[in-house]
Symmetry: C3
Subunit: 283 residues, 3 copies
């Protein structure tokens, strides 16, 4: 049995914390394949961590265990979770980190981590990533059934990110700014389609008009802003060959409005695959 | 044979140096499992690298090979080391990087790297991480005994970090500031216990009173400073949900004083495991 | 079959993009061994990415697949490539990223990625790293022959970096500044040898005299600038125990001139291996 364990934390990369987590996992399940998603979630930013996890977890093969630790609940009484879905396991604190996953996975079953038999022999008060969550993920990877880890529990689901509709206008917000400065919103393809299938959309961010939806970054000249459905399925504001967050001065929490224009346009920007020897595609 | 090789360096993550080290290792020992501890040790900071290694190495299963390269000894005549302890191997320069490990491992046997048969066929003058230390670690992972690598040697132990006691006051210093801004000192649990078992301690950092020892970050309100024994066993100064180094303006080298108060208090902050279905724990 | 796939991108480490790429690869080729080279290539800097790849790829064992994605060609019509050399495969966009590799590998055979059977079932318009290049690399790792991926193609080779000779003076430029602040030029050992075998060289960077070629960083006192042939075989300007780019105010694109002095000196700084029990070596 060689299960994949992905790791997503706010531990950073400059200390030994991540090494400790991996060492503990290997001691319990030497065959575990550990894949880093990111360890640069902004410190204690549960919402950002949950969003990144949400955009990535389905890209892994069935059976993968997603270990996620963004755990600012210092001193509060939060418990630990294992969540089982048809294809995956999730392990981490019950603080909302798995909110998007749970909304997205109707068949998810959550359990409270309670059986200390599967924890580190000494549990510190400051590092449950190493002492509780890593051992639990490793035992899952080694084949221990989730039911042994603790009793069922209704997991906490946070309602951080709301989309509201006023007539023919959607109001959403910026969730995340990525490495390239692309500004990712909480408006997904289905929501936009429900508003205006095959209609041209008009997007505004913090009062500034971005224009309609494009299907490639290169649809606008270098330096120009544009809106696009990003690779994760959310509306994204970008600048061709530039940094949209910097150019447009946008950040997480900013308001994004989407209205409808009367012109017909194809909404879905997913490429069709090129076929035949002369096919060429755009990035 | 599938041995773990951990990697700790000051190489950073933006160049190809780390990739070269890993490629060389895989060429010699294709089954090696390489685990990054960190590559963001401040450039040429042997003390910081040695401290991080010390806090992490015992979390790995027995048999692991710890490859550590922080090597500022440019042009000086320092040699390379392999160190064998009952559970681990260590490979790197003989410049003090393994000082904490050696103090902690009375049965350690050090050898000077001398047998060029186990090095890269061409050895550069600027990159022994790739040309000497990586091949040696890979050969160890492949089963070569340490005794073939070179003759015994008394390894260099640096005395960077001293704790002094004046009556009932301990004087230590800040060793490291972690990703969260937690300020980690060189005062360990045993030293504090020797000073005042079951006594309340009074901690000062650079003249500022921090108060007594707490057992969780959440023992103080958000934004308040506190002292705690960190997950690595050293006295740490933290700010609940905040960045202590920034709030208190502390950095490596700053002085920390610990005195004794007369009240009785439990010193050891290690959690007992919760048991039973209603158990709840604090981070 | 357990092939190595190396990864070099400008994706950064703070998002989920890299995790997605790795998840997709594992879904196609569960036995693939993925090794990160770097993901901190400056955003959209094809030249920097190509240079780092060039300095690293030969350090991996034969059979390795080098997946490289620095892909600023937003909206332009660039296609994807697979390149096969006697020892390696390369996968990525046809935008010059493989220029140094191709100049260095006369037997390289390039093919255009065209057969969508080996791509992700849905191909986005914004993330070919995940949707095209990762699946192709994974299929190569699983044993699919390159010839099935698409027809032969003349790959794009960029001519960014030129070295010119005027009499007995070479004019080159700074290619890259590494993590330590070492300033790496496009002047390689062979070019310098052709100019003046066994002759003393005189190096100037942006009008400032650096002096002759040294064989170790420690040949000059701490804080002093020096020139050296770096571990990758290119002329490099360094400061002993310091940051040359900062001290000398140099950056990529700056001009470097190399002239000839009349004194004889050994050019090749490659160490000979120390032999015998009293051997000592310099870093």
């Amino acid at each position: 049995l060689s299960r994949i364990i992905t790791l997503l934390t706010d531990f950073g990369l400059e200390d030994g914390y991540l090494g400790s987590v991996k060492g503990i996992i290997l001691g319990i399940c030497p065959a575990a394949r550990m894949i880093d998603i990111t360890h640069l979630v902004p410190a204690q930013d549960i919402r950002a961590g949950g969003f990144i996890l949400h955009t990535v977890y389905r890209d892994f093969p069935a059976g993968a265990i997603h270990l996620a630790v963004v755990d600012p609940g210092v001193g509060t009484e939060r418990c630990g979770l294992v969540i089982q879905t048809p294809n995956y396991f999730f392990v981490g604190p019950d603080n909302g980190l798995f909110s998007w996953v749970l909304k997205n996975e109707p068949a998810a079953e959550a359990r409270m981590l309670e059986n200390g038999e599967f924890w580190r022999s000494t549990v510190s008060s400051t590092f449950h990533g190493r002492d509780v969550f890593a051992p639990v993920a490793a035992h899952l990877a080694a084949g221990i059934p989730a039911a042994l880890l603790g009793p069922p529990r209704i997991a906490h689901i946070a309602e951080w990110s709301t989309v509201s509709r006023h007539g023919s206008t959607l109001k959403g917000e910026v969730l995340h700014v990525d490495h390239f400065g692309n500004v990712i919103t909480n408006l997904d393809r289905k929501t936009l389609n429900d508003l205006a299938p095959n209609r041209r959309l008009v997007i505004h961010a913090e009062g500034r008009a971005i224009g309609g939806l494009r299907s490639t970054y290169g649809s606008e000249p270098p330096g120009a802003a544009l809106a696009i459905i990003g690779s994760h399925g959310f509306l994204e504001i970008a600048v061709n060959r530039g940094n949209a967050a910097r150019v447009l001065n946008l950040r997480a929490g900013d308001t994004v409005l989407v209205g409808v224009s009367s012109e017909i346009s194809p909404l879905d920007p997913t490429c069709t695959k090129p076929t035949g020897p002369t096919a060429q595609w755009k990035r």
